[in-house]
Symmetry: C2
Subunit: 438 residues, 2 copies
């Protein structure tokens, strides 16, 4: 079986010819042969693979840490949330339905609801059944319960960008808020990260660098578990420096490497380095790439992403407080990266890939480039242009989420946030009128 540490799964690939111990959670619909405790054996074709189970049978997240379920309370310190202080299932689980006290209460409610139904409601219901059946037919008989919607965790560096994304995705998926309410930062009292919730989408800032996103990932993965979120999908919507590609290009990461070319996350743990493969979900990346429009005024490419631990010397820049190499040393280095397929450099890909993979969560890292590092070091493009560029990976992720929700029958109108618009033309007129009198 897999060794106790569980962290050397990648290395042990070479050790055993019959059993692959590498826990490949994705890209595989292969049959599960045997299940024992928190492991399962899967037939990968050539080999039997021993995998750590990362899901319960209902699709909710199973943690690879036996201690959490034994704890009285789990405080998600950097999110200002707790498993007992907050009802995390209620807040984040998107569980539908009402709990009734007695059978009589259920009967009373049913009678009340039936009496209120009008002809139009029955019509709507038949239309819904028809649409469900058509979707079922299109999917070769697979029936999807529309309540079973994935959680989309979208993360990016700054609180500002993720607040903007929250309002943007709200409009895109037509999510409505009750009149007189607006989005608020769920983690405002952590003073560390910002978190917004828009229906099935969480929009969270992760700060800069490996440790900052690492802390967040630990706590968000635990949040998925506590809140019983089903089949979550994580997106990182970032900014980066490009290598040999124009500023404004969108890069979907195929794999992540560190500053020394290693494709794993190396964490000192109890005084020893533990390595975890930094793998992203290839299928998800391909699906995202397919959503790039030919008419987009920019390119969307798939490539290797280098994750640096520093913005200046760690990325070969000449403009830090220190510089002890030359322009030509730098160019030789960047050209070497280019020859190895590195398309962009950012500062979070390695733990994002490794920790989501270790948790069995499908994830994709999508970054826009702010400059071509072969042409310079400083980000000198005007802020307004950078802001427009920042929206590009957001658009791609929004297309993915919209498409997903459409196939689930969850997008029913074309969306204007929390305002119900009857006539867009008159709506605009009223807005303009009232602004004149400000």
């Amino acid at each position: 079986m897999q060794n106790h540490n569980g962290a050397n799964t990648h290395a042990s690939l070479n050790g055993d010819d019959d059993v692959c111990r590498y826990s490949d959670h994705f890209d595989s619909d292969n049959e599960v042969k045997e299940e024992t405790g928190n492991e399962a054996v899967r037939d990968c074709g050539k080999k039997l693979c021993i995998i750590k189970k990362t899901r319960y049978s209902d699709g909710t997240v199973r943690l690879r840490n036996p201690n959490i379920e034994l704890m009285d309370q789990d405080i998600l310190y950097h999110l200002a949330l707790g498993s007992e202080s907050h009802d995390l299932v209620e807040m984040f689980g998107d569980v539908k339905g009402t709990r009734f006290e007695s059978v009589e209460a259920v009967k009373a409610k049913v009678t009340e609801v039936l009496n209120q139904l009008a002809e139009a409601d029955f019509h709507h219901c038949f239309q819904q059944w028809k649409s469900h059946m058509e979707r079922c037919r299109d999917r070769q008989g697979e029936y999807i319960e529309s309540e079973n919607v994935a959680t989309f965790v979208c993360m990016g560096g700054t609180p500002k960008r993720m607040e903007t994304f929250a309002f943007y995705i709200m409009k895109e998926i037509g999510h409505k808020l009750p009149t007189g309410t607006t989005l608020t930062d769920i983690s405002q009292y952590s003073y560390r990260y910002s978190m917004y919730k828009v229906g099935p989408v969480l929009s969270i800032s992760h700060g800069m660098g490996v440790p900052s996103i690492g802390i967040l990932l630990h706590e968000i993965i635990k949040l998925m578990y506590h809140a019983r979120c089903k089949d979550p999908i994580f997106f990182r919507i970032g900014t980066s420096g490009g290598i040999g590609i124009e500023g404004g290009t969108v890069v979907i990461s195929e794999k992540a490497v560190d500053g020394l070319g290693n494709d794993c996350y190396q964490v000192p743990m109890l005084g020893k380095i533990v390595k975890r493969p930094a793998l992203l979900d290839k299928r998800l990346s391909r699906e995202l790439k397919a959503l790039a429009h030919p008419e987009d005024p920019y390119e969307t490419v798939i490539g290797t992403t280098m994750c640096a631990d520093d913005f200046y010397e760690g990325q070969g820049r000449l403009d830090g407080a220190f510089c002890e190499y030359t322009e030509s040393d730098k160019m030789v280095y960047l050209q070497d990266l280019q020859s190895k397929g590195v398309k962009n450099i950012e500062m979070e890909a390695i733990p994002f890939a490794a920790l989501t993979h270790h948790a069995g969560i499908r994830a994709a890292d999508i970054c826009v480039t702010f400059l071509d590092r072969l042409k310079g070091d400083q980000v000198s493009t005007p802020k307004e242009v950078l802001n427009e560029w920042q929206r590009r990976p957001q658009e791609l992720v929004a297309r993915y989420i919209k498409k997903y929700l459409q196939t689930k029958g969850r997008i029913s109108f074309d969306g204007h946030g929390s305002v119900a618009v009857k006539s867009p033309r008159r709506f605009k007129l009223v807005q303009q009128e009232s602004q004149t009198f400000e």
Copy 2:
């Protein structure tokens, strides 16, 4: 001479018996024997030391990067500042005086000022002279020009804590703002860091982890250079987990080690690891320790600080999203750290020590502990208590800055921020009165 790379200064200590190439900027009043370009030779007693010069003759910061002075403009991207877009000397240099267009203008101003002087002004002037002479006598004849004040750069994790510190230090040093103004976040449009300026004190948030504080240090060191700040002193005011000491204890770092016990900052640079010694200013630490009061309701200790790259597994916690070791593995590890003199674990000490040292800037890392890791992993102390604890390292730093400014004759009253208070009793009454009618 020192090798071109300059980064292996520590390693080459062993290579040469006559010349110490380790650039020890602090703790040394030894005579400079020879100066050539940006290096100097200093007699350290046993050896001749070759040091990189990190100061110009007027005490302003000299950068160890020849590229910056050749650039048209240096954009401090993550601070939302630029060397040509902003007048950084005017904003941060605290240069006193007015520039006049002609000799006539100077004469006119002098006449105007002299005519306005009253008897009390002359009295005040003589008092100032007397106080200056007394201070000069106390310092065995050393005369200090009161305009030549150091810049104090105070940094800590969250924007909230550093905003609080800014208002606190303003009160402590009696810094006054013009009526009708308040402090504002200088870097608000960076959406990355927050920065407040209170006279000679900068209060800046650095986010979490090594890369985040690393980016900030590069840009703040460059800011010191562009703004021609003199003899800056950097403080990190942080939070941490203690080892074998009570929650609420203040730890002044003697040295910093990483998760593998190395006392240097290892940065992959152009594909190779470069090591820089993570050294803090021992004299500054001792001076701070001496400012701890016996009546403080908590202990202040000096010890080794471990800088981790992760909050959970990287610090041997059992409560992350993953845990692949046991409680007893963890205890063996923490006890081993304790036996090596490690007093606390945080996430920024290594680059803070190494980059300030490399720049020749005196620096101290002062953290309060939020828990004793030998007793648990979760921070479960109530927020109000943690807030009180967070103020402890702030108080120590405030005592240092106040003492410094007092010896410089820069603190003239006991300070109430930007409001001029005539009678504290009546002031309070008016405040209460107006709050009643809110």
